[in-house]
C-alpha cells in the first residue's frame, strides 16, 4: 500500500467469510436485480515489496432469492456455471490514501479476463476479540457484462431492453491477519 496513511501490518490476511459479501446489482426495468454469491474466498498479502489481493466466487452459489432465476443465471444465457464454475479477481496494485482505496487488477468472468479498477474505503486495522488485527475493505466496480459474454436480454414492448449491460459489483471484505 504505497501511499498508506493508516498503518497496516505486513503478512497474509485471510478473509472472514461470515462478515464479508460479494454482491452485484443490475438495473432491470425501473428497478434492479440484486444478487450475491454464498461461496467465495480471498486473501490479502502485504509485504515491503507490495500488496496483493485475490479472490474467487463460485457461480453455483449465486443467489437472487428465486430458484428459477438462480437456475437461469447458471445457464449459458448468463454465467454458464458448468463451463465456467468460478469467477476470480487478482490484483497486485493497491493504493491507499487515508481511508480511500483503489484496487487495480484482472477480473475473470465466464472465462473472459478484463482489467478493472475497484474503489472504496478501508477501515482498520482493529484488533478482534482474539487479539488478531482485522481490516475492512469496501470495494465497488462497474463492468459491462456483455464484454464477458453475459448477454441475455429481452426486448421491451415499448422499445429498449429489460436488463442493463452495466453491472455494479460490490465486495465487502473483512480480513483477519494470521497469527
Amino acid at each position: 500500500m504505497s501511499t498508506s496513511t493508516i498503518a497496516v501490518p505486513a503478512g497474509t490476511w485471510q478473509l472472514d467469510k461470515v462478515h464479508s459479501s460479494v454482491a452485484f446489482q443490475v438495473p432491470y426495468l425501473a428497478g434492479a436485480f440484486n444478487g450475491s454469491f454464498r461461496e467465495f474466498d480471498g486473501k490479502l498479502d502485504l509485504s515491503d515489496d507490495g500488496a496483493a489481493l485475490s479472490g474467487t466466487a463460485q457461480v453455483a452459489s449465486v443467489d437472487v432469492k428465486d430458484d428459477n432465476l438462480n437456475a437461469h443465471l447458471q445457464s449459458p444465457d448468463f454465467f454458464d456455471a458448468e463451463s465456467y464454475p468460478e469467477l476470480s479477481f487478482a490484483s497486485d496494485r493497491i493504493a491507499l490514501d487515508g481511508e480511500s482505496v483503489r484496487v487495480s487488477g484482472e477480473i475473470t468472468i465466464k472465462g473472459v479476463t478484463r482489467e478493472i479498477d475497484a474503489t472504496g474505503a478501508a477501515h482498520g486495522p482493529v484488533a478482534n476479540l482474539q487479539g488478531n488485527d482485522s481490516l475492512r475493505l469496501q470495494l465497488t466496480t462497474t463492468v459491462d457484462r456483455t464484454a464477458f459474454g453475459v448477454n441475455w436480454n429481452a426486448e421491451l414492448p415499448g422499445g429498449g431492453k429489460a436488463l442493463a449491460d452495466e453491472v455494479t459489483i460490490l465486495a465487502e471484505l473483512y480480513f483477519v491477519k494470521g497469527a
Binding site: D67, N68, A71, H72, Q74, S75, P76, D77, E82, S83
Partner: protein, 185 residues
C-alpha cells in the same frame, strides 16, 4: 453416445419424422439415435398434475431426456411457430427449471416444411424456448424447404440434406464430447 430424436409432428407420414429417421441412419460411429414417439400421449400442462405423480407419458419423456446425452429436434411450422404439442411437451420437461433434464444438455434443431422456408421461424422459436430452459443449443441450422420434393415415401433422397443432417449430428456429438471432457475435468 445416446441421442434422443424428437419430432414435433404427429402425422404418420411426417417429413420431420422422416428427417430424424434418416439422421438415425447417418450417425457417426459410436452414436445411437433413438426416435421418441410419445408426443401424442403427453397431456396439456397442468401444474396440479405435476410433481411426484406426474402422468406416465411425462415421466417417460423426462426419463428419456435424462438418459440421453443430447437431443435432436425436428419441427414443422404452424402459424410461424412451434407446434403446440411440442411446446407443451417441453413445458412439462422444463419443470422444475433448476433441475430439469434439458439443463446443460446439448441440443440441435432442424426442420422441414412444404414451403420454401423450411420451418425457419419455428426453428428459431424452438431454439429460443430450449435456451430459456437451459439447454446448450448448437449453432447450426438445417431448413428443409419444399419437403414434398425432397422427401418421398418417408425417405430422404436429397444428398445435400443427408450431408447436412450428418453435419448437425456430428456437431451435436462433438458438443457432447466437449461436455463430457469438461464435466470429467
Amino acid at each position: 453416445m445416446r441421442v434422443l430424436a424428437i419430432s414435433g409432428s404427429l402425422r404418420r407420414d411426417s417429413y420431420n419424422t422422416a428427417l430424424l429417421r434418416a439422421a438415425a441412419e447417418h450417425v457417426p460411429a459410436g452414436v445411437e439415435l433413438e426416435l421418441w414417439d410419445g408426443l401424442k400421449a403427453v397431456p396439456p400442462y397442468d401444474e396440479d398434475d405435476d410433481g411426484d405423480l406426474a402422468p406416465a407419458a411425462v415421466t417417460a419423456l423426462r426419463s428419456a431426456v435424462a438418459g440421453a446425452d443430447a437431443v435432436l429436434f425436428a419441427t414443422p411450422e404452424y402459424n410461424h411457430s412451434v407446434p403446440g404439442s411440442l411446446k407443451n411437451a417441453l413445458d412439462w420437461v422444463s419443470r422444475p427449471l433448476a433441475a430439469n433434464p434439458l439443463r446443460n444438455k446439448p441440443v440441435a434443431v432442424v426442420g422441414a416444411s412444404t414451403g420454401v422456408f423450411g420451418a425457419v421461424w419455428a426453428q428459431a422459436e424452438l431454439r429460443k424456448v430450449l435456451t430459456a430452459i437451459g439447454a446448450r443449443v448448437i449453432d447450426r441450422e438445417l431448413a428443409v424447404g419444399q419437403a414434398a420434393e425432397r422427401i418421398a415415401d418417408g425417405s430422404v433422397g436429397d444428398t445435400e440434406v443427408l450431408a447436412e443432417l450428418a453435419n448437425v449430428v456430428g456437431k451435436l456429438a462433438a458438443a457432447v464430447a466437449t461436455r463430457q471432457d469438461r464435466v470429467a475435468a
